[in-house]
């Protein structure tokens, strides 16, 4: 009885956060003299208005889910993997590198694509591993290490696009020379939407869910995250587990970056990570680190992203407004969790 009572209250607080976030954005819209109802319906229409838009939502959903899955693992181990953006970028760089390597060799494109995706995952894992090593053996907080590695990854990416891998004749912000069509991940009809990406993402989701819910490894990670000293005393190799959590997260981030290259842009572009890593951190916090909620909430965020594109076109508003909505959602829901704890007491 008391339990259900508490759970009901808890949902009320979540809803309260949701309402506050929408209220906050409405206020901003009113301040800039825009009609909130029009704006929200535009976002809605923009996300599900036609099949192209729906397919675009799923294009965004893929990296969001993968990034969120990745950071769930590091969060479970009690780590803030801010460096996920750089890990996505490195995934993209490794993938591009492998495809460029094999372009002129007589290897079937399907195998090259598979290899390049694998390389991308390894690239992400290497970058994440660096953050992990810095944290565990160098005493560098993973937030600072990750931030630094993000900058290096961006610089490396831009350096390649404008340097070694620049387009013949002219280097440009639009990225490297697109790959021949054989080296694209097959897409559904003429959309940018690829069943392969979706398939890999769903596999990723299942893997993370099982890993965190049902495996000894997942439970040990949880123990490390909840109480490192106690976990060590109970016989868990805490350092090794922290490092492994970084590596697993890096694999997922690398996969996200890799798919951006082979399925979406078909080349390396400067903003290849598109902030999906940070958004993954937000989603993970929003869903209170419950793997079961990753797919729907990531879908919601992806829909906001795509729907937001309509705002500048129709209403001359900046599309970053959806970013405000996403950010305030996270803030208000976290805030309400804090309020709930104050009201109900801990636990």
């Amino acid at each position: 009885m008391k339990q259900t009572h508490k759970r009901g209250l808890s949902i009320l607080f979540q809803l309260g956060g949701l309402i506050l976030a929408f209220g906050f954005v409405t206020m901003i819209l009113l301040l800039v003299d825009a009609d909130p109802r029009q704006a929200f319906s535009l976002i809605w229409e923009g996300a599900i208005g036609n099949t192209t838009r729906i397919s675009s939502v799923f294009v965004v959903w893929v990296p969001l889910v993968l990034a969120t899955c990745g950071v769930l693992v590091t969060f479970t181990a009690g780590l803030w993997n801010i460096g996920i953006e750089g890990q996505i970028t490195l995934g993209a760089i490794f993938t591009t590198g492998v495809i460029r390597l094999f372009l002129d060799l007589p290897v079937p494109p399907a195998i090259v694509i598979a290899l390049s995706i694998l390389a991308g995952m390894i690239g992400g894992a290497i970058w994440a591993g660096l953050a992990g090593v810095l944290k565990i053996y160098g005493g560098v907080n993973e937030i600072f290490g990750g931030l630094g590695l993000n900058f290096i990854a961006t610089a490396l990416n831009i350096g390649l696009i404008f340097g070694a891998w620049s387009r013949p004749g002219i280097a440009s912000m639009s990225g490297t020379e697109p790959f021949p069509q054989d080296y694209w991940l097959p897409t559904f009809q003429s959309f940018r939407f690829s069943w392969y990406s979706i398939g890999l993402t769903i596999i990723g989701l299942v893997v993370i869910y099982l890993l965190l819910q049902g495996t000894h490894f997942g439970l040990r990670l949880k123990a490390v995250g909840k109480g490192m000293k106690s976990a060590y005393r109970l016989g868990i190799q805490t350092h090794e587990h922290m490092l492994l959590s970084f590596l697993v997260c890096g694999l997922f981030a690398g996969l996200a970056g890799s798919l951006q290259v082979v399925a979406v842009y078909r080349r390396l572009i400067p903003a290849i990570s598109s902030g999906y890593g940070f958004m993954g951190l937000m989603i993970a916090m929003l869903i209170n680190y419950q793997a079961i909620w990753v797919a729907p909430i990531a879908l919601f965020f992806a829909a906001l992203n795509i729907g937001g594109i309509q705002l500048p076109i129709v209403m001359k508003l900046d599309s970053s407004l959806t970013g405000v909505l996403q950010g305030s959602l996270v803030l208000f829901i976290l805030l309400m969790q804090g309020v709930k704890q104050r009201v109900l007491g801990k636990g």
Binding site: L210, G214, T215, H216, F217, L219, R220, K222, A223, K226, G227, K229, S230, A231, Y232, R233, L234, G235, I236, Q237, G347
Partner: protein, 502 residues
């Protein structure tokens, strides 16, 4: 300044740290507060200096009731406290530390301040360099700096919490001289300590606290036996310890040298027999926790050797010790013992050896956990998060998580915070393990417990370790005196040497 406490009460959870304490301290004297660890000394002093708000009770300064809400308030009333661990700013210069708490003015005139600083320290014969950095000072010098700072801020009452821990004999003499000078100037000095020797040498009058209660006040000159009895309580009959120790040596320390700021433990030699129980007695922070952690591989010794079952594990990490049958149960159960947020069943899953499969067999571990819950009388279910268990049940859970085939269990305060029944149960379970050949090292602040359950006792005082005392022929008084730093003559010092038998 005359200080009056009227019926001060303070609870921390279930612990009644200060129970109805009513006490009056006259000005211009050195007043001692004596008691074993956890007696409530620091709590009472923190109430006076505004760090802790009492649950109830009043404080009077020169007969007037005052409300001291914060340390800044206390300083305004002229009360300054010198904490056990110096609360200063190591990366700053002495002179910066000196001025940091002052409220007057906005711009600093260093020239003026340095002049005042020098004049002040000359009174006490201190020789601190105002431009030196605090992190280059010794503990004793940091104390001197803190005393000067508090005096400069206008303290008329100086509280010193265990000031003689970790400082050299020369510094102690300097400190005592300074305190005597201050008392002569009319300042009130409150000297909090568990060291009988210091209190006897310095204090004009002393109040003794035990388990949160004021036992009484005694004036100098003192009778040591009386002080010991007041501190530790009347000796109750002690059941003869039933030893089940065997001949086999399972654990050895050879010339162990461990450093852990501010203590140094030197040249400890010890042999632990199978099934033997060793009590480590001493005031908290006298080095017993340092030694215990060194025995578990949680602290790396500077030199010497730790040998487990004939295998040299010196410098290896704790996980290696665990593999060789050594387990450590810390006092802070939810920080180092159990993982808050994980259920009992999850704990048993984590510690299991059955981790060959990838996935967790949840039904299996629920059953195992239920068996342990029944076996160890834990009030809780497999799905109960450990943080919602009571302290006693947490302790039973922690014990039940230990593997069966251990050679050595190292325990910190195994029964602290437990009621008598739980404590007895805990020891029954431990003794059961001893019968199967497990040896035990345990730290306890409860001398009765040490005497009752140990086969042999090691006494600690400021990092010094006694030779193993046979618990059968040691009295509570003798133990109390040793803990308070008395009677440390040649024959008590640990200097046995064993041939290595690897």
């Amino acid at each position: 300044m005359k200080i009056g406490f009227n019926q001060i009460n303070k609870h921390f959870g279930d612990v009644h740290a200060n129970a109805d304490i009513t006490l009056e301290i006259q000005g211009g004297m050195i007043y001692g507060i004596l008691g074993e660890n956890g007696a409530g000394k620091s709590t009472l002093m923190k109430v006076l200096s505004g760090f802790i708000k009492p649950d109830s009770g009043e404080i009077f300064l020169d007969g007037e009731g005052v409300a001291i809400e914060t340390p800044a308030d206390a300083i305004k009333f002229g009360i300054g406290m010198l904490h056990q661990d110096p609360l200063d700013f190591p990366p700053m210069r002495n002179i910066d530390n000196f001025v940091v708490g002052q409220g007057r003015g906005f711009l600093l005139s260093y020239k003026e301040v340095i002049k005042e600083f020098q004049a002040l320290q000359r009174q006490f014969g201190f020789t601190l360099d105002p431009d030196a950095y605090v992190d280059t000072l010794t503990v004793g010098e940091r104390q001197q700096l803190e005393i000067l700072r508090l005096l400069w801020l206008g303290a008329r009452v100086l509280i010193l919490d265990e000031p003689t821990t970790g400082i050299s004999i020369q510094q102690k003499e300097k400190l005592f001289t300074a305190l005597e000078v201050l008392a002569e100037q009319g300042k009130t000095i409150i000297f909090v300590s568990h060291k009988l020797e210091d209190v006897e040498a310095l204090c004009d009058k002393v109040a003794i606290l035990r388990r949160g209660h004021l036992v009484g006040e005694v004036e100098s000159p003192y009778d040591t036996d009386q002080l010991v009895e007041m501190m530790f309580g009347k000796q109750i009959s002690i059941t003869e310890p039933t030893s089940i120790a065997q001949e086999k040596v399972v654990f050895q320390l050879q010339e162990l040298y461990v450093e852990h700021y501010p203590l140094t433990i030197e040249n400890v030699n010890f042999r632990l027999h199978a099934g033997e129980v060793i009590g480590l007695a001493g005031m908290e922070g006298s080095g017993q926790d340092v030694l215990l952690r060194a025995c578990a591989g949680l602290l790396r010794p500077v030199s010497g050797r730790v040998i487990v079952n004939g295998k040299d594990l010196t410098g290896k990490r704790y996980l290696e010790f665990m593999k060789n049958g050594v387990a450590f149960l810390p006092a802070s159960r939810l920080e180092e013992g159990l993982v808050p947020g994980l259920t009992l069943a999850e704990h048993f899953t984590v510690v299991t050896d059955r981790q060959k499969q990838l996935f967790i067999d949840k039904a299996y571990f629920r059953t195992i956990t239920q068996e342990m819950i029944d076996d160890y009388h834990i009030i809780g279910r497999p799905s109960t998060p450990v943080e919602s268990l009571s302290g006693g049940n947490q302790q039973r859970a922690a014990l039940s998580l230990l593997k069966d085939s251990l050679s050595v269990i190292l325990l910190e305060h195994p029964t602290r915070g437990l009621d008598i029944e739980s404590a007895i149960y805990m020891w029954d379970k431990l003794k059961e393990r001893c019968k199967r050949g497990t040896s035990i090292f345990f730290i306890s602040a409860d001398l009765d417990e040490v005497l009752r359950y140990s086969d042999r006792i090691l006494v600690f005082f400021s990092g010094r370790v006694s030779k193993p005392l046979d618990s059968g022929s040691t009295s509570l008084e003798q133990l109390g005196q040793l803990i308070g730093g008395k009677g440390w003559d040649e024959e008590i010092v640990n200097e046995e040497f064993y041939e290595a038998d690897t």
